[in-house]
């Protein structure tokens, strides 16, 4: 049952081959038996899931046409869920139960989906290995001594281990695509503004974007159909025409122009990963696509630019966690300053503190022009690189991550090495472009991800190109769990 895709589950629910309660129960049991060794979930909402499943079964009996009706999914613990603990992977919010739902969560409730629980993540989405979570490491289902990637490591591991057929996630610098790559699944980060950020706990507001993690591109299309919406509660949400992402999945890619940036095949790329990506290029050629070499000359500036802008925004975004209204509060504060210092000192982990400090420094008097202001100018150059390239090509192709999953602790003492994990994904966030990662091979029995980057609001094209690849390959069907 758990090897089925969302498309198949939906079809079988409608064909009455099983009920929503049965499939939900099946996933809940699977979580119970497998998650203790993976730690993909922070909270499992069993009672609520079964109640939602029963409701969905009633809807299905009445002939619901909603494709996600009765389909169980998981939410990254960054999305506010009314009445359900929402921690953002932090001690700071280890006691926080929101009084409202994120728009993304609301959209899935309206679509009839069932929520299995909340998935583990790097603290406040800051990390590329899921090692910064207050709730412990998530293990990569392909190699439990390795990281699942981050920050959406819980969602990635849950989908890869078939603990959920799909999950929501967020991506600020690669937090959907990199863990999707390391866990061998499909993950899409839509165009900035395509999905509402209301109720999604902010890390870096100008970069954060919600997306989906699934086994297949087709499932991503189904999930994104429900997730994408215009939301007047988010001023940065774009009122762009909505489309059915499943409608164009089967379009031919004959004549499609794929740009391959030479900067994405430089020093630091693992040879096995490079070989797998080059094999993928050959598959696309065999499908009739035209491969064009392109250049994104400012690529080398993406990581340093990101590590000024993202920390700067987070330094302000995380100020609200002050121990006054909600979240962790230190015991017996002596005075206001003590309340602030100890509540924040105790509530935040090392990486979060590091980024708040870096951000506060970059914004401080005398440094603003040299750091923040300059980073914004470089951000524009990086964006212009893409705009230029998209005049000639339909999609850009490259590796998602420089290497397959690495061992726990391998990079946790070296922030810069960790930051370079996102070297190929960060530029798309700075430009606001959509990107996705699909599995394209195995190196040492660990998955390799292929990244496709599209033009603004070209999610349908990306999913089409990914789906065509998956029609001729079977990497997306590989199951890491020995059943």
């Amino acid at each position: 049952m758990h090897t089925l895709t969302i498309a198949e589950i939906s079809q079988k629910l409608r064909a009455k081959e099983f009920s929503s309660r049965e499939i939900t129960q099946h996933y809940l049991s699977r979580i119970k038996s497998l998650d203790p060794s993976l730690n993909a979930f922070i909270t499992v909402t069993e009672d609520q899931a079964l109640a939602q499943a029963d409701l969905a079964d009633q809807q299905l009996a009445k002939g619901s046409t909603q494709i996600l009706c009765g389909v169980p999914i998981a939410h990254k613990d960054i999305f506010c869920t009314e009445g359900t603990l929402t921690t953002c992977g932090s001690k700071m919010l280890s006691n926080f139960t929101p009084p409202y739902n994120a728009t993304v969560v609301e959209n899935y409730i309206n679509a009839g989906a069932v929520t299995l629980g909340k998935t583990n993540m790097d603290e406040f989405a800051m990390g590329s290995s899921n090692e910064t979570s207050f709730f412990g490491q998530v293990k990569n289902p392909w190699a439990t001594d390795c990281v699942p990637g981050g920050s959406s490591g819980g969602s990635a591991a849950a989908v890869a281990a078939r603990l959920a057929p799909g999950a929501t996630a967020t991506d600020t610098g690669g937090s959907i695509r990199q863990p999707a790559s390391l866990c061998g699944i499909t993950g899409i980060k839509p165009t900035y503004g395509r999905v509402s950020r209301w109720g999604m706990i902010a890390f870096a507001s100008s970069l954060d974007q919600a997306g989906t993690m699934t086994k297949t591109a087709e499932d991503s299309a189904i999930m994104l159909n429900a997730m994408a919406s215009y939301d007047s509660k988010d001023s940065t949400c774009v009122d762009h025409e909505l489309c059915d992402y499943t409608a164009t999945l089967n379009d031919s890619i004959e004549g499609l122009k794929i740009g391959v940036p030479k900067e994405y095949f430089s020093e630091g790329l693992d040879p096995g990963t490079q070989a797998a990506v080059e094999d993928a290029i050959k598959i696309y050629e065999s499908l009739g696509a035209k491969i064009v070499s392109v250049s994104l000359p400012h690529s080398h500036l993406a990581v340093p630019t990101y590590y000024v802008i993202a920390p700067a925004e987070c330094s302000a975004n995380l100020s609200r966690f002050d121990g006054v209204r909600y979240g962790h509060r230190c015991d017996n504060p002596k005075n206001l300053e003590d309340l602030y210092m100890r509540s924040r000192g105790e509530g935040f982990g090392e990486e979060v503190k590091r980024r708040i400090l870096v951000g506060a420094y970059a914004l401080s008097a005398g440094y603003y022009d040299a750091y923040y202001s300059k980073a914004q100018k470089v951000r524009r150059l990086i964006k212009d690189d893409f705009v230029q390239v998209f005049k000639d090509v339909d999609v850009i192709l490259g590796p998602t991550s420089p290497s397959p999953a690495f061992k726990f602790g391998a990079k946790s003492d070296d922030p810069v090495a960790m930051y370079l994990e996102d070297i190929y994904t960060i530029a798309t966030n700075l430009a606001g472009l959509p990107g996705l990662s699909i599995p394209c091979g195995l190196v040492d029995k660990k998955p390799v991800g292929l990244q496709l980057i599209g033009n603004y609001f070209a999610e349908a094209k990306l999913l089409n190109v990914a789906h065509q690849f998956q029609l001729s390959t079977d990497f997306h069907t590989l199951n890491p769990i020995n059943e």
């Binding site: 100008s206 001023s235 940065t236 700067a312 302000a316």
Partner: protein, 481 residues
């Protein structure tokens, strides 16, 4: 040594929008603590701001009223600091790209001279909540009802040289924002708050002295006191050979003293940067033009109209035009009475006195403008004298609905001529000495002496005698021996 004072003002004006600047919560004053605080105002994780268009409209109207440039592009920034009544840990405000740039006001001084005070800029921002330090033993309470109330902060150039100019500028701003309806002007409720930047320098010196900023002034009287004290303090310090420390001072309206709040060294580095949750706001020419066309009459234009169309004195015109609601009352009274001078006199006299005594605003007046207009009509047609007019006004103030009913019910109609003659006869009979004096006086002195008899008859008629009629009867009888 002769000293010159240099004053600049920062004025916070609460905009009279229905809802807050970035959330849908109501902005009504005086609700129970935290009942007007939404998820956004509480800075719940994951919440986002959505700008209130009305706040922009009001800010643009202010700019159009002060000869300023309306910026086609404006940007909200985050001003970062920690305080419990600032739930997000930053205030959303404008810095580098405010909505209103430049502008000026011409103020009129007591000596009749005009002076131009330049405005540096005006920007939109959100208000903070309130910390309640008194009510909770050992702890402070936080009320976030005010958090997110839209403000414009108006920053003047340091163009004022004394308290009179500063207050004239502040009053003029008050008059404008209430006239165009963007602020309710209730200073006691904090609808307008003033921060005063003060420095002194030897007369003739170009370079500015070190300034202090005194915050939290919410009345013109406090501003006057504060400027007087601070100027004196600074001059004393300098004359004692001390330096003025650049600092922020807080005014206490109860003790009328200001204390140092923080020095320049202790000042926060606010780490401003553009708010990534809000896009730059772009405003096009048509939008501005539309607001310009529909801008309510400004106090200055109204004053000129009162002088030219109604023949009011500059003083009367100033008082009646500076407050939009007062002006509306005056015009409604005038529509009925058709007599501008009498209307002005009654409003600035009897009505203002009553409003003051009852401590209410003109919109809460217990005598509607229509009734006052009608009362003035009855004075013009001599049904009422100024004395019975006041009696009628008193009844209207205390609940009567209609001036004609009051005249009827209270018997305020003038005494008719036969009754009046009888009264005059009895007064003459009762005061033979005064009559003799009158009759033996030179004719040009008699005019003055007739006042005694007028008073006596008025008293006897309870003020209902028609003065002109009475005068002619009296003169007839007294002069005819």
């Amino acid at each position: 040594m002769e000293w010159e004072t240099v004053i600049g003002l920062e004025v916070h004006v609460q905009l009279a929008t229905q809802s807050k600047i970035f959330s849908g919560s109501s902005t009504t004053f005086g609700a129970s603590p935290n009942t007007q605080a939404s998820l956004v105002d509480l800075a719940m994780p994951g919440t986002l701001p959505v700008p209130n268009e009305q706040a922009f409209r009001y800010a643009i109207m202010f700019g159009l009223s002060t000869n300023a440039e309306i910026c086609k592009r404006s940007v909200f920034e985050r001003k970062n600091y920690f305080y419990p009544d600032l739930p997000k840990g930053y205030q959303t405000t404008q810095l580098a790209e405010p909505i209103v740039n430049g502008g000026y006001l011409d103020i009129t001084l007591e000596n009749g001279k005009q002076k131009r005070i330049r405005i540096h800029h005006a920007h939109l921002e959100e208000d903070a909540g309130k910390s309640l330090h008194d009510d909770y033993q050992g702890m402070s309470g936080i009320d976030l009802n005010r958090a997110g109330t839209p403000l414009i902060e108006i920053v003047s150039e340091p163009d004022m040289r004394n308290a009179e100019e500063a207050i004239a500028f502040a009053r003029s701003l008050h008059s404008i924002v209430t006239s165009i309806g963007i602020c309710d002007g209730r200073m006691a409720q904090g609808s307008m708050r003033f921060d005063v930047n003060i420095s002194v320098r030897p007369k003739g010196q170009e370079e500015l002295g070190t300034r202090t900023e005194t915050k939290n002034l919410n009345s013109f009287r406090f501003m006057d006191k504060c400027i007087e004290q601070e100027v004196e303090r600074q001059i004393n310090e300098i004359e004692l050979g001390n330096k003025i420390a650049q600092e922020t001072r807080l005014y206490d309206g109860d003790t009328h003293t200001a204390k140092s709040m923080r020095s320049k060294e202790e000042a926060n580095d606010y780490r401003y940067f553009p708010c990534p949750d809000l896009l730059p706001v772009m405003i096009d020419d048509d939008y501005i033009e539309d607001l310009r066309q529909n801008l309510p009459e400004l106090p200055e234009a109204r004053k000129t109209r009162y002088e030219q169309d109604f023949g009011l004195s500059s003083y009367d015109a100033e008082i009646l035009s500076s407050d939009r609601k007062m002006a509306a009352y005056f015009e409604a009274t005038h529509t009925v009475s058709k007599d501008a001078k009498l209307s002005a006199n009654w409003i600035m006299g009897e009505l203002s006195a009553r409003l003051n005594t009852d401590d209410i605003s003109v919109e809460e007046s217990k005598v509607p403008a229509e009734q006052l207009g009608k009362l003035i009509l009855r004075i013009i047609d001599t049904t009422l004298s100024s004395k019975t007019g006041k009696i009628a006004f008193d009844h209207l103030w205390n609940g009567a609905n209609d001036v004609d009913e009051v005249i009827e019910k209270e018997g305020l109609k003038p005494t008719d001529s036969s009754d009046l003659e009888a009264m005059v006869d009895s007064i003459i009979e009762a005061n033979p000495k005064q009559v003799d004096n009158y009759r033996s006086a030179e004719p040009d002195k008699r005019k003055k002496m007739v006042g005694f008899f007028v008073g006596q008859v008025m008293k006897a008629s309870k003020g209902k005698a028609n003065p002109q009629q009475l005068n002619s009867i009296l003169q007839n009888k007294l002069d005819s021996e």
